[in-house]
Amino acid sequence: MKKLLISLILFPTLLLGQFSGPSDSDTSDREAGASLVWLGTPSNASESVSNIRVGDTIVLGIKITSYESSKTSIDYAHIDVQIDKRLYTHLNQTFNSEVSGNSQFVGPNAKMQFNNNFDHYDIWDQWQNGTYVTDSNYEIHHFQTSDTSVDGNEVETLDWYVKFQLKVNAFDEDYDYTDGVLLTMGRTSVVQSGAEVLLDPLYAYPNQDFSNEPVQAAPTFANTVANDGQNAIKYKSFKINDYASNNDQGEYGDHPSNSAGFDAMFDYGNKKTTTWTHQGRDTATKAFTWPWSNILPRHANTNFGWIIEGYFVPPTSGTYKFQLNSDDRSDFWFDANDDGTITNTGMGMGNGARDVDVTNLTAGVSYKFRVRYEQGAGGANLYLKWKSPEDVAAGADWAFNGNSIYSIDADDVTVTMDYTINYNIDPDITATDFSVKTYYESGTNQFTANAGQSAVTLASNGSADISDQIDTDFSKVQHVVFDEPSSTELATTAAEAVTVADVYLAFQELTDKGINNNETGNKFTHGIQYVNADIDKDGDFDFDDTYMMLDWLNGGTAFSLTNLSSVMRLIETSAYNSVASTAIGNYTTTSKFPLGLTSGTTTYTKNITVSWLGDVNLSHSPTPTNNLSVTGMTINNAPSLSDTRMYINNAPSLSDTRMYISNAETIEFRIESEVKDGKVHYIVKGAFGGTSIGAIQLLLKYDKNKLQLSDNIFQTGGVNFINDQDGTISFGSLKIDEGKLNNIPLYEFIFTGESSEGSLGLILIEALEVIKIDNEPVNILFQ
């Protein structure tokens, strides 16, 4: 039964290659045994088991015990140590100085074979007849004392007979430190009366699992930077001098004074006061340029350290001067030969700025480097800067450029672009109606769409992420281009943006001295207004432009609407805000904008303002932050652009037919149709009272399938215009010189067509715009 039980216990061990140890009662006569003892790390015997991680080196010892009181003084033993190479790498072993031992490496790829015909408790027979089978997951080391007459130096009195160092290879929460190490005790003897007496040893021993504590997992890798690549580094963050967790034992009496000091400080595997708290990837900018409020992760603001690694890719060849400036201390390692081995540059260890020359660097080659840094208490900072050969020649100052640093070899980096355009579009223009694509210059005035892209629709705030549309071949000159709207959509947008208020304001500016390149009128308040008023695009603003505007109101074609680029204007927002009145010719209309890609730069944000040709009063273009008084011209009696918009509030009730425009006067128009002599007469008659009106624009919609406009009669006292397009008549009048329109203007339209039972519903009127002579809008009430 005993044999059977032992067999059952050993079976899974043999099968799985693991060993958990039988209990006392299940073993042999237990006259002697060997057990593992925890001896910490090579440099710290007190190192906590819980502080060990993958990559660390641990030290285990073998203690020999006599369980037979009459047979003490064991001075001879054979012990096999079987190591699971998946968990540990055997580094070396050391015999206790009080014994004379020797060792034998049984084989790098062998495992003990116990399933022979010998009883398991008869370990001596096992030892003598056991075999070693090939298994690449294991290796076996055989230890033995060679002195069989060590009176007074009995091995069982030693804390450890032999100790060996193992490097932790893998983490598995199902394993502890003793898993993967199997002790097998072979021959054991004592000397009694001058003769050797063999003991019946335990082939193993109880309680071999002394910790039951799994190897700790590495700290979670925190990706602050999305991907490895440019302007990225990898780091490990340490807690150092962690006295409180170790009974206030001081380990570092001072800051590291040399490289070895740093080695010791960051030897977290062997230091009881150093732990590894963070690891991750972040920007090089964050790692090497502070402020303190935005530095790499650390467990606290004192007693921390970092190992930061990356690759430096010089843009030009030659000698580079590197400067490390830190508080507290740091050192700098560099693989200047690009042979895979980084070496200490020896720039010094003190606080403050130190520099070193790294010679013979080749442009475009990735050179690995490492910075180690530690902070005790008090002030803290870390800066890495450099000078290229060209910088040195030019006398340039030290500088940091994240574009030259990569977290992995630059050759392995896939360039990813981050390009966002923020189109500053007036709220009266619906941004989501527009979309963009990217093109590259394929010849003189030739543009070809980048391959594999789809149009990006602008967000409601005007932004567009075109990162996926950009070709990373920076040799191509690329542009972002608005998709062309339909001709109807384009005409609608233009009709909304350019109204009689724009034309009236333009005439006023000319009348008020702003004529023929003079641009000294007092009606425009921003330079972009002159640009938008240059309808004929000849580089100045004059009567040619205003009469083209009149032509536009009358449905003429002088104001070209051939495509979006004929009316859209794209100006970088910073420039848009400071357009000078004398710079009319500097800003053409366009629907494309150059991306300005630069080799080595992958993150872009462009702010572009969208304005419209003819939008003189900026009712559909953003108002620049700087006015003409800032950009070089005195402004007197200028209208307030903020009042040129028509804000409609408060939907009226049935009893009140007024449409209210906030903070504006109200004028009335009486509308009336009547069938006379087989024709429909439609009359719009104003009643302005004491309000001085400078310009009017209204819309008349009629059923073009039933009516035809045959005549119109306008009596207004101003220049009249009418534009009959596809059943919609834009009409009105404006003063192009001093004065105001008649107080009771009359607009009469005569239609032919169906009229036998009246015309109710065949003609509808809509208000568009009425401007006082001071360019202020007014309410329009149809009665």
Binding site: T657, E757, G761, I763, L764
Partner: protein, 112 residues
């Protein structure tokens, strides 16, 4: 007796109002507070006096959409409402007399 009965019958019959087709009994557009229309529609309405009248189209927010002036006749009048240009699903049709006094009003629901 039979004579009296005949006389009584004649008296009763002669006292009834003469039958003349009453225009006001024809379907009048303004008789209902709401009318539903599908497409353009001709509609009848009666005027108590001849002269200048106005038909107004007003949206439900009170915005005047159209005013038509016409010379109405006493009794039955017929006009036409065109709905093709109207964006609204509901409009008021109002009848005003010569001195801008509203006579009738109906809410028109337009099937789109």
């Amino acid at each position: 007796m039979k004579k009296y009965i005949v006389i009584l019958f004649l008296l009763l019959y002669s006292c009834q109002k003469d039958y003349i087709e009453d225009l006001y009994t024809a379907p009048m557009f303004f008789d209902k507070s709401t009318q539903e229309v599908v497409g353009d529609i001709s509609f009848n309405f009666a005027l108590q006096e001849s002269g200048i009248h106005y038909l107004l189209l007003v949206d439900i927010n009170g915005k005047l959409l159209a005013r038509e002036k016409f010379t109405g006749v006493e009794g039955l009048n017929t006009k036409k409402l065109y709905v093709g240009l109207l964006d609204q699903e509901e409009v008021y049709l109002m009848l005003y007399n010569w001195n801008d006094n509203k006579i009738k009003e109906v809410l028109i629901k337009i099937a789109k």
